[in-house]
Symmetry: C2
Subunit: 437 residues, 2 copies
């Protein structure tokens, strides 16, 4: 058999596989998982726009899995409907309700691809084989059985999967909580061993700082999982931490990019040697923190532990913690400061008031007019002088630092809210002088 005749045979088989009058291809280049968020699929027009992007990838000979969110606004409307009925809806039923949002999008996206002559089929989270635990509204993915997706991919379909949802082993519908669609995309990429995972969003990638505050912020070509984790959990808002953690755990390399243009985005992957050459990757700002200070906490074993145990029991996460023994109190007592999410401040104060007498601190001070700024970079490990440069920049601008906390790859500071944006800009200018305007 000559190569020529083999080629004809392949062509013939390929034609034999065609159905629904859709074109079919015998070989493919890559398996790509693409995720489009609510803004990208907000209305029929945008859905058609996304479909044309998907079609482009498919037409180039790639296998494509598309994960979609609910059309923007839909989830909020559903929540409003539920709240009109009962103030705190049952979480199982809330999941049944919210899951309709993504289910609507998958059907419309499949139709939009059909209108372009591309074979496409929709699958809900449960149909895609996504099994979660039973924590309704914040479910964790337990396992994925990708056989149904694989079957459709083998038949050359574009497979559209509803993000944000799955089901329990007994078939109850669950949702994955905030950022759940990103998680779905990354988990599917892992389960299918995809060659590429693209998270399409309304920003062009990850920036050295929020471009709305720092207009000359620079888009990053690549970033390590750990840097991304620090940046996302610290308010960069591009992605939820747990999606990045999941990607890190299962070594899924993904790209954050815009659905509005064709520019390459930011690749998120395991850190490489060359990444360490960059000392600071990015600077994030978080205006959603509040600071609590426990004044004159007795300096004896167990006091701090009891305090944070009580907060933990009330599901209040504590972020930065600073303790500074004061010579004034002759080392018998100390002030402890920490930050909590601003919406949880009142609850935290209530919890602390309850344990005030048993723990023995003198008083509780609070401040919700603060912002946290963090500079992040894996290169920080091997470079000194980062803190010095940071403090110098702020001192030059006359901005006071209220708290400082450091880790291997980041330095976080608390400043007054009124100075927050200015602080971000002067720090950015100090660490990225080449982008200074």
């Amino acid at each position: 058999m000559t190569i020529h005749s083999i080629f004809i045979t392949i062509l013939f088989l390929s034609v034999g596989r065609a159905h629904n009058n859709f074109p079919s291809r015998s070989i493919y280049k890559m398996l790509v998982v693409q995720k489009y968020g609510g803004t990208s699929v907000a209305n029929p027009e945008r859905i058609k726009h996304v479909a044309s992007r998907v079609a482009e990838y498919w037409e180039k000979g790639n296998k494509v899995v598309v994960v979609v969110s609910a059309m923007s606004g839909v989830t909020d409307s559903l929540i409003k409907l539920a709240k009109d009925i009962i103030p705190t809806p049952n979480r199982r039923e809330m999941d049944v309700l919210l899951a309709t949002g993504e289910q609507t999008t998958i059907a419309l996206m499949a139709m939009a691809l059909h209108s372009l002559g591309v074979p496409a089929v929709s699958l809900t989270g449960p149909q895609a084989g996504i099994v979660t635990d039973r924590s309704h509204s914040t479910a964790k993915i337990r396992n994925i059985t990708p056989s149904r997706m694989r079957k459709y991919l083998a038949e050359d379909y574009v497979v559209i999967v509803a993000g944000f949802q799955g089901n329990t082993e007994i078939g109850d519908i669950t949702t994955l909580g905030r950022g759940g669609s990103d998680l779905t995309a990354i988990a599917l990429a892992a389960a299918l061993k995809a060659d590429l995972c693209q998270i399409y969003t309304d920003v062009e990638g990850v920036y050295t700082a929020d471009p709305r505050v720092v207009p000359n912020a620079k888009k990053l070509d690549e970033i390590s999982y750990d840097e991304m984790l620090e940046l996302s959990s610290l308010g960069a808002k591009v992605m939820q931490s747990r999606s990045v953690e999941f990607a890190k755990k299962f070594e899924v390399i993904f790209e954050v990019r815009s659905s509005m243009n064709n520019k390459p985005g930011t690749i998120v992957k395991e850190e490489t040697k060359s990444m360490e050459d960059v000392v600071v990757r990015g600077i994030s700002i978080d205006k959603n923190q509040a600071k609590i200070t426990l004044v004159r906490m007795p300096d004896k074993p167990g006091s701090a532990a009891r305090t944070f145990k009580a907060l933990g029991a009330a599901s209040i996460n504590v972020d930065m913690i600073i303790q500074n023994n004061s010579p004034e109190t002759q080392n018998t007592a100390t002030d402890i400061s920490f930050t909590v999410d601003k919406p949880l401040l009142k609850r935290a104060i209530d919890v602390l008031a309850d344990i005030k007498s048993s723990t023995g601190f003198a008083e509780i001070a609070q401040d919700d007019h603060i912002a946290k700024i963090s500079i992040v970079g894996v290169g920080m490990k091997s470079h000194s002088g980062v803190a010095a440069m940071l403090f110098g920049a702020l001192a030059d601008a006359g901005i006071n630092i209220e708290m400082i906390s450091t880790s291997e790859i980041k330095i976080s500071i608390i400043v007054n809210m009124d100075k927050a944006d200015e602080a971000l800009r002067v720090i950015h200018a100090a660490f990225f002088p080449d982008t200074k305007k």
Copy 2:
């Protein structure tokens, strides 16, 4: 063990079964399936109203399964969304899309019951174990595995099931087509061997005629399946025929009643001896028909067969068929008239034009300005004079009859649309003189 101690034991077991802080009961009276249509659940307020009705039944010690439709308007909005994307959406994807409508209602209904302290759980059609064939958008129920519903009922939950939907054996979402929620309710009542099946709607039951046209029409206490079938397929619009056929086949007695008040509705059941005492049960009107006449069809074997085969192949249902040999043509040719659904008239004319030369009729006449009126009653079988009374009433009013067709339990006539409502009123007055105002 005394009776007293048995009673205490039962109470104890009953308390032991309680959960979620919901009250629990040890015995129950009846298993009731209730179906509420789109108008009854159109908004959160109406959903709460329905929930309070359901709660009443539950509190009286009944087990309750509630079948709900999509909130009115929702299905139309979803169809519009789809049509904005593609003129003829793929039917599999349309089912995925439309199924979200009922899924939304079940979650909200469960929440509304929770707000009244009633334990309730929602199930989609697939979760309720409803398996259908693969005819997307017009799926037929193949079987129902009620184990999950039974489990929840045993635990004293009100079970809310999404009407109109099921899934195929491989788990593709299907919908049952128009009137599908009624069908779901009746099928569940059959599968669960329910004691009562109630179809709640926006009318108070089945009337002797449409009350909007005949203001003194009387609500019927009961009606036989066959009468209901004739009335519903003839435009009474209370229910789709196939739900009634399904009920007849599985001997499900059901009640059509209003969700707006507490009045008893109309019981639909197998005919009884006493039913035959009533000659005419009701009179329906259908303004959705058009009449076609094939002029001078050659009177030879096969001509008519070929004609109706061609229409059948084009999925055009033919209703009344009248053939009348004319002495004028010396029995070599005949006129054939029949009626079709008005929206299919154009397609029917096209099909007939194609076979005109091969079939040999001279011309095609059409009239879409007609209405069909049918009088229905199982008692008709054993009474004569019904037709005479009908024709007399119309003659007295000077209304011309264009076509007549009879069956064992009904007589249908075609009149000019302009005279339709008047015809309905005079016929009603003739057969129901006691309700004459």
